[in-house]
Symmetry: C2
Subunit: 296 residues, 2 copies
């Protein structure tokens, strides 16, 4: 009985264990308006659920599991989202394109476009290089936050991605305040806490420019939950003259979440780009990123 049981178990396991799997990198853009964010949530329409369902349909698989670079919140958009997914290598050969994966990937991309709803698009699909992990290999994430503070420039066509602000903002003051936040810090004051997760991050860029719209370019190695929107909210308070230039840095130094920090609205936030190191640096970056960081 015991040996039979073992054999049965092995038989069932063998195909999956031995079948070669291939990791795909997907570059994705979406209008977050009608999504409850990226991550799977029971009973909610999320980007992850939508993309995984489309992959299952097109690849004729029962389930797939994506890993994403930036877990965007409800209402947040993406132009440069990246995820990876491991699929049986055989699915790339079913079009008779053994050898080169190119035609199979091109066909997969076309079929994904046909299956996905209009508010999410896969822009590119490639076989990921060895060591690639969409989340842990990433060097940095870049977000944009867009504000229109001039009634004469309000554009209804862009209302889903631009915050309409009723008063003129002082971009110079916002940049002076933002510059004080750059570098490696514990950003706990600007994050919604998750148990066991670090809030130590390196803020690489935070710059506002005015070119009709007032746009923030925010780059960090990674962001914790609500971090961009809390940073933006604190800087808007400075831009309005309601808080002094040193206030966001003062909040940061407190290291505890502050109820006075406004979490700015999600619809004006877009994940624009995720950067990765060159292929031979992927695994090393993965190792560094997985370490839970603490400030020395």
């Amino acid at each position: 009985m015991r040996s039979t049981g073992t054999r049965t178990l092995r038989r069932a396991e063998t195909p999956a264990r031995l079948e070669r799997r291939v990791r795909l990198r997907l570059d994705i853009a979406y209008d977050g308006t009608e999504f409850s964010g990226w991550a799977l949530q029971p009973g909610r329409r999320t980007v992850q659920q939508t993309v995984e369902a489309a992959l299952c349909q097109v690849l004729r698989l029962e389930s797939v599991s994506t890993v994403v670079a930036g877990r965007t919140d409800a209402g947040v958009h993406a132009r440069g989202q990246v995820c990876h997914v491991d699929v049986p290598a055989g699915v790339l050969e079913q079009d008779g394109a053994a050898g080169s994966a190119g035609p199979a990937l091109e066909s997969l991309l076309r079929r994904m476009t046909g299956v996905l709803p209009v508010d999410v698009r896969v822009r590119a699909i490639a076989v990921a290089p060895p060591g690639f992990d969409a989340r842990f290999s990433a060097l940095s994430r870049r977000y944009a936050y867009r504000i229109c503070d001039d009634r004469a420039l309000i554009d209804p066509l862009r209302r889903r991605e631009v915050l309409a602000w009723p008063r003129r903002l002082d971009v110079e003051a916002m940049n002076a305040a933002g510059a004080l936040l750059l570098g490696e810090h514990d950003f706990a004051a600007f994050c919604r806490r998750r148990d066991g997760a670090t809030t130590v991050r390196t803020l690489l860029e935070l710059e506002w420019t005015r070119d009709r719209l007032v746009v923030a370019r925010v780059v960090a190695d990674a962001f914790c939950h609500n971090m961009v929107r809390s940073l933006v909210g604190s800087l808007i308070a400075v831009g309005e003259g309601k808080r002094p230039i040193g206030w966001p840095a003062h909040v940061l130094a407190g290291r505890t979440r502050q109820p006075e920090v406004w979490v700015s609205r999600p619809h004006a936030l877009t994940l624009e780009e995720v950067t990765y190191p060159s292929d031979n640096e992927l695994a090393a970056q993965d190792g560094r990123a997985r370490r839970v960081r603490t400030l020395s």
Copy 2:
């Protein structure tokens, strides 16, 4: 009896006839997706109906009648639409701002923003200079037509204003073909006919540029019905290599509507700007524009 009748008629007419009226210029932007175009149509949601209803509500008038620079079709957007409306001068003084209209106009603009739906915004309201007519004083209208012909650049956030095209377009060929259409011509071949209306127009600019998107900049003194979309449709056929560079000019010379000319989809078209002469040239331009033109 007769004289009494005359007196009654006069009494009823007097207030309207003698009341001073003031012409307002409104600069308007809208997302045309959910509108059946600009012009009033019974039972349809149009921009004109929406703007006039908001003006009536805010100014407490029973009816107003706007005159517009560009009668956009269903689904077409605007960032630089201009209309005028004549209202009793008294409505600008009801906030106690007799003398300068500035504060009353500022208040009117704010109240319009509060009353209008999110897909249409008044960007500016001013007292029009003498001789100004939104339609007949205009020197030119500028439209943009936006196409994305690269799957790697598809942006779901802009899907309401950009045509997704599945094949790469040859911008150089489209520009060569467009250049042959410049100048004053009878554009009947590219217009849906309206009885009694001329189809003689001067096409001032037609240039395609590629900067991620492929965008046409199209400027004319005025456009007839479907003209921009028909011009764009004929140039896309050239850009795809389906028609030779000389084909649109050949169609133009035929002076009759051609069923082979595809009227490109409306959602990628936006009225970007209307230009007017300096204030002392307004009335003269109005006179010129009202003449029905024929080609000599």
